[in-house]
Amino acid sequence: MSRTRTERLVNLVICLLSTRRFLTAAQIAATVPGYEHDPEDPRDHEAFQRKFERDKAELRELGVPLETGTASVFDQEPGYRIAHREYALPDIILEPDEAAAVGIAARLWQHAGLAAAASSGLAKLRAAGVEVDPQATLGVEPVVTVDPAFAPLTNAARDRRAVTFSYRVPEVDDPSTRRLEPWGVVCWQGRWYVVGHDRDRDATRCFRLSRIVGNVRAVGRPGAFTPPESVDLISHVARWSGPAARTGRATVTVKPGRAAGLRRWATETVPGPDGDRLTIPYADADGLADHIVGYGADVRAEGPPEVREAVIQRLKEVVARHDRIASPPVAPAVAS
């Protein structure tokens, strides 16, 4: 056996691309170097069949569209061929700026598996005659990362297959098993989500991909469901539709030179005897109170009462909690 397997596989592709009619295994064996065997010898023939099965599997793994059929109605034995139309990447002509964009896009992946897929995809475009300038840049480049659940979920959404996975929410102690008809995957504010119909809750749900534990398993057949017409995936994830209007106005006193982070938000700063008096626009009193409490004794909330009371309440809780840590109840030493 002097020919390598790769060589045999290239020859198999050439053979099946060049035929219009379906070729049986025996016809292929007679044509493709590397398949020589004695069909009369059962062991030799079986070895050939195993080899041929393995080779077919490799072609399919690579994405070669191997067709099966019979040459005529009188034929019983299955034959094989590759339709050039199904095999070949359709003509694609990219303008230089478009090719540059594709070249940059292919570089963005930080996820190993998809980085490899992006570069082999780009290699195919190059083979189709597209010239890609490796030096091109676009000014701002997003770093593209995905969670491990990304590929199985996008595949399932494309094939319309249901999935099941284990899902962990921080507030709940143990992961739960979920069954979902995935409609699509969404990237929103740098995080990935899957949106779909939750079979157990019988409702639309979205799940954060980073909270999926272990493998995503596809269950049932492809085409098992139909997503709603013109579903807006983003709208299911993006309940936050932009910054809430900062209509509230809080007044705080800040020690000189302190709390730079809070000063950035001030619309007005008036120096006073015991510090600067800032006016801070806010949308959510609790959120602002958290922020103010973070600055400890450097900031005092003056008003309105909803902010001032929230700050005082939080500080009382912090003091009470940390006092317990600092002076734990002392157990009396008992002599034994």
Binding site: I14, G63, L138, E141, A151, P170
Partner: protein, 347 residues
């Protein structure tokens, strides 16, 4: 393309055909996976060369991201491929004139294979990310490219994926054009770790979007190091007359695992976290999470205790600091002093 194929060398190669079986002694042993990878590469190589008659072997190797030696081995293997005497299939023929290669007969492999679902997905998602990136200069070209790729990929590109990266377009646009102009910048920048706003001159290197946030990567002349500046914390910006000139030691960060990657030299902080604050373990890199009944004991590394104080005080009702003692003391002193401010009517 067909007309430009040089025929002259065909005879020479035919002459050598008898030796083809011995051409590849010593080529690397390949496992099943490598053999599939190599097959994919070979099927791609033929149309690649077909589209570029007379290309330099070195240039093709660089373009295809393989070593020149590997490419020559691939060519040697292709050279022995084909179906002698079999109808239209025939043999792959090529001319290798020293450093240049031309495919003169493709044996039917005249087009690259279609994109696989993963390849289509990887390109389409990255293009959508680019198209959604605020401040991007050539959105139009990206969208045209995306449409063409989706069209060429056919059904496999039909994956429903939506991308939205909200950010301040106007600020990014201004910053991007300043960076493209190639000038050094004067920044007014808020550093959250130290809660201070500082003035500095930087030499811009690139702009990035990581985890939905925009960053300017630049050589900071004040810190004498490469720094990532969060765009939403750049409070003011002036383009200087002098050119941006990052020194040779200005090396870009590896942001593949996020912008903040704790190093072992940073201080460890230990917290007791109630149920409603467990979310912090998803937002900040943590070293360890241990269950203790209903509460979690969380360990994380911080660059600055002042930052930790602001974060943890602000987290409020459900987080208790266990250590280090210095941070615990700081939290208690600050909270007590802050509360005291409210016991007197006015300062």
């Amino acid at each position: 393309m067909t007309g430009s194929r040089p025929r002259r060398s065909r005879r020479r190669w035919r002459h050598d055909r008898a030796f083809r079986g011995h051409a590849r002694r010593g080529s690397a042993v390949t496992g099943p996976r490598q053999s599939v990878d190599r097959l994919g590469r070979l099927l791609n190589l033929v149309p690649y060369l077909l589209a570029r008659p007379g290309i330099l072997v070195a240039e093709a190797a660089a373009d295809l991201e393989v070593s020149e030696r590997q490419l020559r081995e691939d060519l040697e293997l292709l050279w022995v491929c084909g179906l002698p005497g079999y109808g239209p299939g025939d043999l792959i023929d090529m001319a290798l004139d020293g450093d240049r290669v031309t495919i003169s007969h493709d044996a039917g492999i005249d087009r690259p294979l279609r994109l696989t679902p993963d390849e289509a997905l990887a390109l389409v998602v990255a293009l959508r990310m680019l198209a959604e990136t605020p401040g991007i200069g050539t959105r139009d070209a990206i969208e045209r490219a995306l449409a063409k790729i989706e069209n060429a990929a056919g059904d496999v590109a039909d994956t429903p994926i939506a991308v939205r990266l909200p950010a301040d377009d106007e600020r990014l646009d201004r910053l991007r054009s300043a960076v493209e102009a190639g000038h050094a910048l004067h920044l007014t920048y808020y550093t959250a770790a130290r809660d201070e706003t500082t003035e500095r001159v930087v030499d811009p290197m690139r702009m990035l979007m990581v985890g939905g946030k925009a960053y300017l990567e630049a050589w900071c002349r004040r810190a004498e190091a490469t720094r990532l500046f969060r765009v939403d914390r750049i409070d003011a910006l002036t383009e200087l007359d002098e050119p941006s000139a990052p020194p040779v030691e200005a090396v870009p960060h590896d942001v593949s695992a996020g912008v903040f990657r704790p190093t072992p030299d940073l201080q460890l902080v230990t917290l007791r976290v109630g149920r409603s604050s467990r979310w912090i373990t998803e937002y900040y890199p943590v070293e360890d999470v241990r269950r203790d009944g209903d509460e979690w004991v969380v360990t994380m590394r911080v660059t600055d205790l002042g930052w930790a104080q602001r974060l943890l005080l602000g987290l409020g009702r459900d987080v208790t600091v266990l250590g280090p003692p210095e941070l615990l003391a700081r939290i208690r002193v600050q909270a007590t002093a802050a509360l005291d401010q409210y016991s007197t009517p006015s300062r």
